[in-house]
Symmetry: C2
Subunit: 83 residues, 2 copies
């Protein structure tokens, strides 16, 4: 096994931005009889495996998020580092 570190990036729509995929899933759940579920919001996550020799990785992950993984106009992201 490698000694690489991991980071998990969660990307979700900003509050107030309509989530059509979540709305569609919620409607499907109601049709299926699951009326205890009152809303659904969707998001994406990315598990990044990071070289143990990496330096300045917080800044790099932040750049990667805003340049590639998220659309900062409508989305927000959070980074969780593991191991």
């Amino acid at each position: 096994m490698s000694d690489n570190k991991k980071a998990v990036v969660h990307v979700r729509l900003k509050d107030g931005v309509l989530d059509p995929q979540g709305v569609t899933i919620h409607k499907a759940l109601l049709q299926m009889g699951y009326d205890d579920i009152q809303s659904v919001r969707t998001g994406r996550f990315f598990e990044l495996e990071i070289s143990e020799k990496a330096s300045d990785i917080d800044r790099k992950i932040d750049e990667v998020c805003s340049k590639l993984l998220a659309n900062p106009v409508i989305e927000k992201y959070s980074v969780e580092k593991l191991g």
Copy 2:
């Protein structure tokens, strides 16, 4: 504010299942010069708001995951309950 509970469902590809989206993101990162990142795996998550009066909710969430949110043939899911 409501007293509703929340559950977060994470859906990811099973180990060994190729993740073309993750591979593509990883290639893009290498081209952008971020060679400290050694692999990328992608996934989706769903934030479910659950009525506080709901009963037997663990079973229901499990059903919802396997019927609608995940494809059990190639994906696995995990459920985290909040509040």
